[in-house]
Symmetry: none
Subunit: 186 residues, 4 copies
């Protein structure tokens, strides 16, 4: 089965997350993927199609792996811990995914569908925060702000880790989770 398509997507994730969309050339990408330059175009119409496909798939995968299947009866504190843990698990399993998604946030080459996936993912979180606020567990700030602060704080740690400034073991992951929770709990 076509492993080439995946080779291309994996290479694209690596390069786009490092050098960005415009900083990555198709020949480079072909070399990194171990395929001919023309081969990329058998699977993707254009560079933009490729980046959109990649963006959507990772955004969806993050949403799925991190936000889905939260036990409905889980107390808020434990729920947050679970989310935070999943975030770090994901970040460690797919080190380039968060950088990639973050780097391409709101870029003008993202198409309608990418924006929709983006919206859906945001909506999930948004709803969750609203519930937490209704339950008087989360602080009363615009959900967009709470989400931005927590998610950015998480991303900040991941970036520090990838830059080699710290190693995030389980202890540190837990500690950061506590701090993030302290930021948003009522």
């Amino acid at each position: 089965m076509s492993t080439k398509r995946d080779d291309i997507l994996n290479a694209a994730l690596r390069l786009f997350s490092r050098r960005g969309f415009y900083g990555t050339t198709m020949p480079e990408l072909a070399r990194e993927a171990g395929v001919g330059a023309g081969t990329i175009y058998r699977y993707f119409d254009s560079k933009e199609t490729l980046v959109n496909t990649l963006y959507q798939s990772w955004k969806a995968k993050i949403t799925e792996d991190v936000y889905a299947d939260l036990p409905a009866d889980l107390p808020w504190r434990a729920r947050f811990t679970l989310l935070w843990t999943r975030l770090f698990d994901f970040a460690h399993t797919h080190p380039e995914a968060f950088s990639f998604v973050d780097l391409h946030y709101h870029s003008d080459y993202l198409d309608e569908q990418s924006r929709m996936v983006e919206q859906m993912s945001a909506a999930t979180l948004f709803t969750m925060v609203l519930e937490g606020q209704a339950d008087q567990v989360l602080v009363d700030l615009p959900p967009a702000v709470l989400i931005a602060m927590v998610y950015s704080a998480f991303l900040g740690v991941v970036r520090a880790e990838q830059a080699g400034y710290v190693v995030v073991d389980e202890t540190l992951a837990t500690a950061t989770e506590e701090r993030a929770w302290a930021m948003i709990r009522r």
Copy 2:
């Protein structure tokens, strides 16, 4: 007086912060600055020189405007409030500056001097955090982590604001400051 050089730097800040380094073309930049394409090269040797000049000047300006002249005897709580206020003041005065600096963080076209300015800025914060921990006011996590979490949280809010998701008035600024402080205070 050479207003052209400033026109170019201002246009570059606007475009680089939006489209990134590789996504911004020199003709675009020339048009945005209202100068001829060749004029840019009278003031900057190359596109790389330009982005480095810009990076260094803004990084230095942020450091100066936000971190400098902190009253030595200011209590930690008040000190943090002051810093947070200054960050928002800066972000509102120069809406593109933080995005620009953040977007170009650790890019491979940044030269030695840009990295040095970067280091100096980081060192200032690092020292401050260490003091706060010695005074038992700040939580005991690696300073790089605390800095990353707070600064990223701030950036997250600014980005949400620029995306039009929220309006950050004084009340909201204060509220976010409290949340950020809650994240790092012991």
Copy 3:
């Protein structure tokens, strides 16, 4: 087989020998070679690399075709005749080669290797002249001077021919050879 590379080199020989390095533009060259502008860069890193490659190959070819395989026991007079004949044969087979090599002599865009090829070629002649002088056959002047005078005289005839001032048939070639020999024989 990569005939394109040869097409480019041949076109470059023609244009560089006529208009010089700076006077030849890459689009012109591409058109003359019958290839796309980008194609040139698949085979040569830069215009400078191209001119150096060309210089080295022709300098080496001249040296090989003209100076190599001289029968060791050939009397000086016959040896000179042979060299002169070979020079004209070469000039008539590759009408632009001598102009090209001469025009680019000591140009600052020639690299280390081009200079080495240059030196090697010069050394061959130099040694030959020294031997001729030791044998009391050649006049006692600095070899560099003898070489310069003979080679330049030859080039002068070739240039006159190319400018259309004369036609150099076998008779004229022989006559010029006699004159050149008269210039340097003891």
Copy 4:
């Protein structure tokens, strides 16, 4: 009186003789001449006008200084000696002039008038050679060939000298003259 015009012409001689027409830029030329870039255009309509002016003036000066005022009754041998001496005197007084004139020989940016000056100079020599042949003093080859061989041989020596390969003192100048004469005398 306008020394600037001369400054420009002198700078142009130096740069054009070294780097050629296309290899010399107007700003470079302005700097070398010690004038503003715009100043050049007060004296010369364009770069082409400048090079043509320069070419004509030097070609004329060479013709005047070297070929004019030859005592009518001077024997051929002495006449040749005088010419050769004058050539070397000229070359040593104006080291760049011969290179410049030679380098621009038959270039397509030379205008009608430059070609005429060229023709006139050639005609003088041509006539002289014809006379010498009529007098049975010079060898019977096409005058264009004789002229090319002698003049090129001379240029070869000058180039060797400028490249630093030899120093041409009076003895060597005389020796080369003898060799050149041997080449063309009957």
